[in-house]
């Protein structure tokens, strides 16, 4: 997915900015410390005015770098939030379907695990029941949902999630132009 790619890029950017900020801060403190020492030993001179200007430039560089950093972090945070909201919405939608099909608590649990891709043996292990129980529960779930297999069950939700007509399938000019 391009999503994780951009997230990794954002994270690299945040780390890079942080490293630059740290380096700048160390330089600024050393520089100012050195300038103060010069001042102490040799008194005020024209040279110090220049040094003061450099110090101001360094510190404002840190401040602006920090502001830029905050923007990047907030951007990364929003991206993560969007994923959380999307997965939250999917969870809500699945829950509503389960309610509509009148699944029992155990069945809803098994159905969720099945949708998440666990094998029958794994589900049995997680729920500490026999594989035959899980198989029977799955059969009842499929019957209630009106499907015959797990892949059909999953595709029910995918279908809902994608909503309207698939842009790639219907090669009408309307949809493709609306896409871009």
């Amino acid at each position: 997915m391009g999503d994780t790619d951009s997230k990794a890029r954002l994270r690299r950017r945040v780390y890079g900015l942080a490293a630059v900020l740290v380096l700048q801060s160390v330089c600024a403190v050393f520089f100012v410390g050195d300038a103060i020492r010069d001042l102490h030993f040799s008194g005020l001179s024209g040279h110090d005015v220049l040094e003061a200007a450099v110090a101001v430039a360094l510190v404002s560089g840190i401040v602006f770098g920090a502001i830029e950093m905050r923007r990047t972090i907030e951007q990364a945070g929003r991206a993560e939030e969007a994923v959380t909201i999307a997965s939250g919405a999917l969870g809500t939608m699945i829950g509503e379907h389960f309610k509509h099909w009148q699944l029992t608590g155990a069945e809803a649990n098994v159905a969720m695990l099945a949708i998440k891709g666990f094998e029958i043996a794994e589900i049995a292990e997680i729920r500490r029941t026999a594989a035959s129980t899980v198989r029977a529960q799955l059969t009842r779930i499929y019957a209630k949902a009106g499907v015959t297999s797990r892949s059909q069950l999953v595709s029910l939700f995918i279908d809902d999630l994608l909503g309207g007509p698939l842009p790639g399938m219907e090669a009408t000019e309307e949809t493709s132009s609306a896409e871009r």
């Binding site: 740290v22 160390v26 905050r70």
Partner: protein, 186 residues
């Protein structure tokens, strides 16, 4: 199976983490192995000071949770916090995990103040020398504040361990900018 769990994945940003651990290492090195009169001692002191200065800037313009406004110093809030921590009912979560808790915030401000005191007197000492009157006073204050700083750091570590135990959230891991909390899938 509640799909909505709107917790942020990371609590502390890299600036907070890097400055925190750099200061911790510098203080620890200077207090234990590095000779007081060595050049390295001064360098480490400057690096630690730089990190605190950066953290101050970050506290004003930085990420929301790292800003001072997210954890204002408040004695009453700290007292309440201590009471809920010690009461058998344990603390309700909710306001937790946003920034420093009130008790931790007080310690953070205390540590920063102490770091500035140690660094400031260290710089005075370096510039005036031990022989001068200012240097003499600076040396005394430098020693006392350095000891206090390490004592407070120890308390800070103790507080973090206690809070981690009580809340069941690993606060140390949160300071490493790793994904926090319990693992996601069921």
């Amino acid at each position: 199976m509640d799909g909505s769990r709107p917790v942020p994945l990371r609590l502390w940003d890299p600036v907070v983490c890097i400055t925190h651990w750099t200061v911790a290492v510098c203080v620890l090195l200077n207090f234990t192995v590095v000779s007081e009169h060595s050049e390295l001692h001064e360098w480490l002191g400057y690096v630690a000071l730089a990190m605190v200065v950066l953290r101050m800037i970050w506290g004003v313009v930085g990420a929301r949770r790292a800003r001072f406004s997210s954890f204002p110093p408040s004695l009453t809030a700290a007292r309440d916090r201590a009471r809920t921590m010690l009461s058998p009912g344990r603390h309700g979560h909710g306001e937790a995990n946003r920034s420093h808790n009130p008790l931790g915030a007080l310690m953070v401000y205390g540590l920063w103040g102490m770091l500035f005191a140690v660094a400031g007197t260290g710089i005075l000492l370096e510039n005036f020398g031990e022989a001068s009157q200012i240097g003499e006073v600076a040396e005394e204050v430098h020693e006392v504040t350095a000891n206090l700083l390490v004592l407070m750091a120890a308390l800070h570590v103790g507080g973090v361990l206690l809070e981690s135990r009580l809340s069941g959230i690993n606060l140390i891991r949160q300071m490493t900018w790793s994904r926090r909390g319990k693992s996601g899938p069921v």
